[in-house]
């Protein structure tokens, strides 16, 4: 719920005011029985300057989730469907050691009689326990905020910096002040009624099956097939006859004389436009991403590359919708400045 990037999410709320570039949430296991919930936010320059607002919105979102009466069944069902699908059609691991380590770690958490069913599927959501968790998380006394930023951006706190003895890294530690505590608890929080549980995801795959075509033992014998080669397009298909998994990888390069890799101005225009499109598609396409389908736009020296990877079932629908969005995209000044600044930082 916290890491969701849909229209009614914490991420969308922070993005609307240009406070974050990315947001993700997850848990890490510390020992046998301890789990830490982590929320990772990549702040914009504006977000760094207004970091108290960012933290206050996180607490505000936690309070909103705690106020909801019931965890929706459709979210649990979708998460279960995708977990089963990913398990059923998991990619072959390139690192045997990594795969075995992961298996050994997960085997500790479920008896062999049922493994891995309980780890994959959530049979029931205990509403009262869920509510307790939200309430626990929304108390600042249970939260640690870590901020990593260029020293120059934290001038006001510079006097409090210490130097770590082994690596020489500079750091400072401080407790939430009474003013911050007021801001992060009930009295000081600004409610946001736009935050809601995600709606049903139309892209969750329903019909997936391994290829019925006979599979081959050696992938090297598979020959690409030219489906189209004329003045409009050159299309090559390559049937997966080795794994047979119900996935597609589509890469389409749209060459244009208006895009030239030998002109810095042209490179800048296409790079920023592609990054803006990719960023603005993030929220509307987040449901597709949750359903295992990722669509991207990137610049090339001679045009724009469009790509999609994921499960076959809804791939064409995501492809068509994404292209509509790419064509209709009109960037705003704040988004443009954020993306251009990011490119400048990477160049400098």
């Amino acid at each position: 719920m916290l890491g969701h990037e849909g229209e009614e999410s914490l991420y969308a709320w922070l993005q609307r005011d240009n406070l974050v570039e990315h947001l993700s949430a997850g848990t890490t296991c510390h020992g046998g029985d301890n789990w830490v919930l982590q929320l990772h936010l990549v702040l914009t320059t504006t977000g760094l300057a207004q970091r108290e607002t960012v933290v206050a919105r996180v607490f505000s979102a936690l309070r909103e989730f705690a106020s909801f009466q019931a965890f929706p069944d459709h979210v649990r069902d979708e998460v279960n469907t995708m977990a089963r699908t990913h398990y059923q059609f998991q990619p072959r691991a390139s690192s045997v050691f990594g795969a075995v380590t992961k298996l050994a770690q997960s085997l500790r958490r479920e008896p062999l009689e049922t493994y891995p069913q309980q780890l994959i599927e959530t049979k029931r959501v205990d509403q009262s326990q869920m509510r307790k968790l939200w309430l626990h998380l929304q108390s600042p006394s249970n939260v640690i905020v870590k901020l990593v930023a260029p020293a120059g951006a934290l001038e006001a706190a510079a006097a409090a910096f210490k130097t770590e003895q082994h690596m020489g890294a500079r750091y400072a530690v401080h407790k939430f002040t009474p003013r911050e505590l007021d801001r992060y608890t009930d009295g000081g929080l600004v409610p946001n009624r736009t935050i809601a549980f995600p709606r049903p995801n139309p892209y969750i795959p329903r019909k997936l099956s391994v290829s019925s075509a006979p599979l081959v033992a050696q992938p090297l014998v598979i020959v690409p097939k030219t489906a189209q080669n004329d003045d409009r397009s050159h299309v090559v298909t390559l049937d997966d006859r080795f794994f047979g998994d119900p996935v597609v990888h589509w890469s389409v390069r749209v060459h244009s004389p208006a895009i030239r890799g030998d002109s810095a101005a042209s490179v800048a225009r296409s790079a920023v436009w592609a990054a803006l499109v990719d960023e603005q598609l993030r929220t509307p396409n987040y449901t597709a991403l949750l359903a295992g389908l990722s669509f991207h736009v990137s610049p090339m020296a001679t045009g724009i590359a469009l790509s999609l990877s994921g499960y076959t079932d809804k791939a064409l629908a995501v492809w068509a919708n994404s292209l509509e969005l790419v064509k209709a995209m009109v960037p705003k000044q704040t988004a443009f400045e954020r993306v251009r600044d990011r490119h400048l930082r990477s160049l400098e």
């Binding site: 299309v235 597609v248 030998d262």
Partner: protein, 92 residues
């Protein structure tokens, strides 16, 4: 970001171009870049011929109002010629 073609561009060139870029430039680019295009697709996995045709048709619907000369926009020598044009036009 660095060009793979004949005219070398320095990082400083890219930084300056990025600093000079405006939102209006990007909006104009968004309107114009797909006026003439050539589509090159590689479709792998469980993709039937019908699906492949639909994938390319969806791209053409939005990004191919007119066909570009294939060699001009995809081949390296043509890029070199474009670069020569830029140098000559900048000397005028």
């Amino acid at each position: 970001m660095r060009s793979q073609y004949a005219v070398p561009l320095s990082t400083q060139d890219h930084i300056q171009a990025m600093k000079d870029l405006t939102l209006d430039d990007v909006l104009a680019f968004a309107r114009q870049w797909h006026e003439r295009t050539f589509i090159e697709a590689t479709l792998t996995g469980q993709t039937t011929d019908e699906t492949a045709a639909a994938v390319v048709a969806a791209v053409a619907k939005h990004f191919q109002p007119a066909v570009a000369d294939r060699a001009t926009v995809t081949k390296k020598p043509a890029i070199k010629a474009q670069a020569r044009d830029i140098v000559e036009s900048s000397q005028l």
